[in-house]
Amino acid sequence: MKYAGNRFKRSIVKFVLSLLGKAIQEVSKVDEEVKMEMRALPEGFVAMMKVLPSGPSMAVKKEGDRFHYLGSDYPEDKADLVVMFKNLESAFMVLTAQMSTHRAYAEHRISVKGDLVKAMIFTRCLNIVQAYLFPKFVAGIVLKRVPPMGGRQMKRLKVMLNLPFGK
């Protein structure tokens, strides 16, 4: 990469994607709503987020009632659902909470490979995960509606403590 700005953004995007993957794994261990949403996904279902054309990426797999983080080099053709950012800049804006996921969809910045019904379920899980990760004022910017976090503060603490130890 010739441009230092792009190298910087790529590193940030790679870091946030891995954080997100670990967060999905940790939140799915403790959050009942995520577990409930996951019931509609088949066992072994792999969801992937990727920046076109060649990454970075991250993938998670449904194992029982939780997601397992698969790391950043899972092969795209083996994933059941691939959420693709069309370019690095779009990924950077979404993953640094400058743009909401639904706005990114509306602006054609994301394309999806796979069953769109399952994409909706995965998106709802992601929304809950983002509510865990972001302070309320940031979550208010990136989500159409912030899931109530009132009874989830202890779980949030647990997720945050475990994040550095995910895969």
Binding site: A40, H102, R103, Y105, A106, E107, H108, R109, S111, V112, K113, G114, D115, L116, V117, A119, M120, I121, T123, R124, K144, R145
Partner: protein, 398 residues
Amino acid sequence: MFNLPDYFEFFAPVKIVSGRKAVDNLPYELDQLQAKRPFIVTDKGIEKAGLLEIVKKAMDAGEMEIGAIYDETPPDSSIEVVNEAAKLFRENNCDSIVAIGGGSVIDTAKGVNIVVTENADDLSKLMGAEVLKKPMKPFIVIPTTAGTGSEVTLVAMISNPAEDVKMPFTSYRLFPNTAIIDPRMTMTMPPKITAATGMDALTHAMEAYYCNQKNPFSDGYAITAISMISKYLVRAVKDGKDEEARYVMANAATVAGVAFSNSMVGVVHSLGHAAGGVAHIPHGVAMAIFLPIGLEFNIPVAGKYIGELLLPFAGPEEYARTPEEKRPYRLIELVNQLREELHQLSGLPLTLKEAGVKEDQLEEIAEHAINDGSLMFNPRDMDRKEALELIRKAYEGK
């Protein structure tokens, strides 16, 4: 300041051939696309109504052979139907596709185009948004209803009976090359279908005006379509032989199609697709039932835009005498008046109960509604509880 989105995309690549005896241009348009053996996708009703004859006559005059005809399309197209039709396409060495029919036929034809282009054996392996890459076969659509707008859209809705859902396929590759709008092709539509498909077109235009991908281009199409529909839908339902009304409605549906194909649709379609998938009610009927409910649901976040629709729908006098904050509510009142009039004229159902939906299906419809992709483009989020509330309201009609 003009409310321009930060970023938007607009694409309307379909050539429109519209007007008196437009179908007679079919061989010429096929030739322009270098097509020699078109595969016709249609249904038995089209054949029975004599509409296929109009096309066959035009093909004969243009000295072009029809490769094969698939006329088994059911009202609710499915993966199996698409795979079966694609087989017939291949067996007859066809090189292009002509869809003659309503939404189900056009969606089936789009599905066939995906399968034969991608050389796949099964459509379900090619699901997704914007994932199809190969250039498709030449594809011409002759709509016989004035509603779906599918002749100018990038979407195909195909049901998956195994999971009781309608699967959306969206890709810029799915746009037809040409849409032929000929008033002769919609003249035989019965009043109830005219009413339902017209409400479908109205829903496309209204949702396009306030959903998340709205932009100045789609706005222009949406407003034009609403104005045409509000003036001519009742006329077309009252008198099917009113050629002017048929012609305007056929074009209005296409104009609305361009609008929503670019700005997408929202919660009315999420609920309607779900009701269609679970209870098999016709799409237009579902749109007529859910439109006022969806408009009302969105007022807290998109009331300004919904209020602005009063102008094309009711005209400048009504718009001017209604205070700004009351415009969205007045619009809903007038949409309900239109529904009532269509109900009186054609028997168009106004509630899910009247449409034959069973009360024990409501929860399943709600579950499907929140998983429908169109919800992503609605300005307001809808959760399970809200979906069920709206569906109960649509069931009882209050």
